[in-house]
């Protein structure tokens, strides 16, 4: 008896990509509970932060008046409305934050794309994959893609939750949603590649967690996701204007809320596309170099 000298083998440039991507997604759709768990935090943020910072109520006729002056209610309400429009580009902070939360969940999901490669290395799984004729870059792209799928699904759920909780959906269109998710796709692709790149050589998860924690808050607060950037100090505005999260959020604000943009839509997309392309390329080039020591 001897092995059948087979046969057809499809070892193209991208073979194995779907299995590698699906392996990670499988962990997830086999345990929907984890999806639920990982959404609790952003929902709490959205509910507490978004509802607590009820800026539109501060200047409304019921809460604000100047003793000695009798300003008509209409005037106060108009002023209030105008302030909100000028500051947040929409009638309430909750709607403003809802779009920011889409970026929030994406940053937090993309962050973990790096963790999984650290675990794979630990358990020897990575070595097994590396000993097969699968292309090195496919290993990296598979990880990025699974993270992209996850984060986009999470963002979609958050959008639904936000609308249920009272996000202003008056100007949402199907095209607007499609455009928003196209922008988020580019953003999460770039971010996942970026975090994966940081983890390519790491062997312990502690340092990986430290790096993630170091990066995620500045990345979120140094963008327009949680607060408009125009009142920030100049040095911070400079950072905001290079932060890809700013552009991903900006697309959503323009397309879902009809807010005036931080940058023209075309520029937003271009910036994110370049960002995704550059980091995916760096990730792939690094995978050729660093996956084999």
């Amino acid at each position: 008896m001897s092995w059948s000298v087979e046969e057809r083998v499809n070892t193209g440039k991208l073979h194995g990509l779907w299995s590698l991507t699906n392996r990670e997604l499988m962990k997830w759709y086999k345990a929907p509970f984890i999806i639920f768990l990982s959404l609790i935090q952003p929902v709490i943020w959205l509910g507490l932060f978004g509802k607590a910072m009820n800026f539109s109520a501060i200047f409304s006729a019921n809460s604000f008046n100047i003793p000695g002056l009798s300003i008509p209610k209409d005037v106060l309400n108009k002023i209030s409305e105008q302030i909100m429009q000028n500051t947040f580009g929409t009638s309430d902070y909750f709607s403003f934050l809802s779009v920011g939360m889409l970026s929030f969940v994406i940053v937090f999901t993309a962050m973990f794309s790096g963790m999984s490669i650290v675990w794979d290395r630990r358990f020897g799984f990575l070595d097994k994959v590396l000993s097969t004729p699968v292309s090195r870059s496919v290993i990296v792209i598979g990880k990025v893609l699974s993270s992209v799928f996850r984060s986009l699904l999470q963002a979609a759920i958050i959008l639904v939750v936000a609308i249920l909780l009272g996000m202003n959906y008056g100007s949402i269109t199907a095209l607007g949603i499609a455009g928003t998710f196209a922008g988020l796709f580019l953003m999460t692709f770039g971010l996942s590649a970026f975090f994966l790149m940081l983890a390519l050589r790491a062997t312990d998860w502690q340092s990986q967690v430290a790096i993630m924690n170091l990066i995620n808050l500045p990345l979120l607060f140094g963008s327009n996701a949680l607060f408009p950037s125009k009142f920030m100090p100049n040095w911070l505005q400079t950072f905001v204007s290079i932060n890809p999260i700013t552009y991903g959020t900006d697309i959503g604000r323009q397309l879902l809320l009809g807010s005036p943009g931080f940058a023209p839509l075309g520029f937003d997309f271009l910036y994110l596309a370049v960002f995704a392309f550059v980091f995916a390329s760096i990730g792939i080039i690094m995978s050729w170099r660093f996956l084999t020591k």
Partner: protein, 333 residues
């Protein structure tokens, strides 16, 4: 015999100072079970990782299945199977899913993969547990699953890194059985590392003893054992006189006779054949044999002879220890 692995001056230096593998040269022939024997940290795993293209050699060359490990890495990968030291199967997937996953990494079409998965699950006796999640597998089942995954591309050459690490005696015997079967029934070549002497002795056709990154001796277990002097027979004779040494020396297979106080210490190429002849001779001359013992040289003694010490457990680097602990923990589960 055709060479399936040719290694010339292979060297791996970590961090510019730690010489894990030091100018190693050897050949592996088609159809044999070749064993790398040495303590932890001797350079066995590093060598296997270079041959399976997971590590780049610092210097030296090697060809595996006719392909250069540095220049034709992907061709090497496609033609070999690897069973790593750790349990690498995905715990959240079933055994069957794991095998299909491996198949896709080799670019094996689905229909072919299905057929092979069935055949391999049958071979390693996991047919009944194929649809159970791997996290419910015992250590032995995991090891057999790794074996099945390593065979999915029908390789001519299979690398096994410490295939019985952490397994109980029964499971270990079962793994040995599979190894023999692959060699005898499928004509495969197997390259394995081990630090168990009895394992090397009982299943390897040829052994290389490696220590501190250097190959110290290569040969069949028999050659290695006879190279340190063959079997030892000790015969006690009631009559202290006369000296029978010269008479015993004339018996075939006897190489050396030493007369000690009340007994003779005899070295022989084949103790089983020499011992009865010695007894017959002594009795035929009217003397009385009081006791007799025959001891065969073990690889232990061989190892001691060539390395100057017993197989020791040396400190591995911390990540190895962690991976090993995972492996052991899951083996016991």
């Amino acid at each position: 015999m055709r060479k399936i692995i040719e290694v010339k001056g292979l060297t791996k230096v970590f961090n510019d100072r730690l010489k894990a593998v030091d100018n190693v040269t050897f050949d592996v022939y088609e159809g044999e079970v070749f064993g790398f024997l040495g303590p932890n940290g001797a350079g066995k795993t590093t060598t296997i990782k270079m041959l399976t293209t997971l590590l780049k050699p610092t210097s030296g060359t090697a060809t595996v299945c006719g392909f250069d490990i540095a220049k034709q890495a992907n061709k090497v990968r496609a033609s070999i199977g690897v069973v790593p030291q750790e349990y690498t199967a995905d715990e959240d997937m079933t055994g069957y899913e794991n095998i299909m996953f491996c198949a896709s990494l080799y670019g094996i079409p689905k229909d072919v993969a299905k057929r092979r998965a069935d055949e391999l699950l049958q071979l390693v006796g996991l047919k009944d547990s194929a649809n159970k999640k791997v996290m419910n597998y015992s250590g032995g089942m995991r090891r057999r699953l790794e074996l099945a995954c390593g065979l999915i591309n029908h390789p001519r050459l299979l690398f096994l890194d410490e295939p019985t690490l952490g397994l109980d005696v029964q499971t270990r015997a079962a793994v040995w059985e599979y190894i023999r079967k692959l060699k005898n029934d499928y004509g495969m070549t197997l390259f394995m590392t081990t630090h168990y002497l009895e394992e090397a002795d009982s299943i390897c056709d040829r052994i290389a003893i490696i220590d501190h990154g250097k190959i110290i001796k290569v040969g069949t277990p028999q050659e290695l054992k006879s190279s340190i002097g063959g079997d030892v027979i000790e015969v006690g004779v009631l009559e202290k006189e006369p000296d029978l040494s010269q008479m015993i020396m004339n018996i075939s297979y006897v190489k050396e006779v030493k007369r000690l106080d009340g007994y003779y210490r005899i070295k022989s190429d084949s103790g089983e054949q020499a011992a009865p002849a010695i007894i017959d001779l002594i009795r035929s001359r009217g003397y009385h044999v009081t006791r007799i013992s025959l001891s065969k040289p073990s690889l232990d003694q061989v190892y001691l002879e060539y390395t100057g010490r017993n197989l020791r457990d040396e400190q591995a680097d911390s990540s190895d220890i962690l991976a090993q602990r995972f492996t052991l923990r899951r083996a016991r589960a």
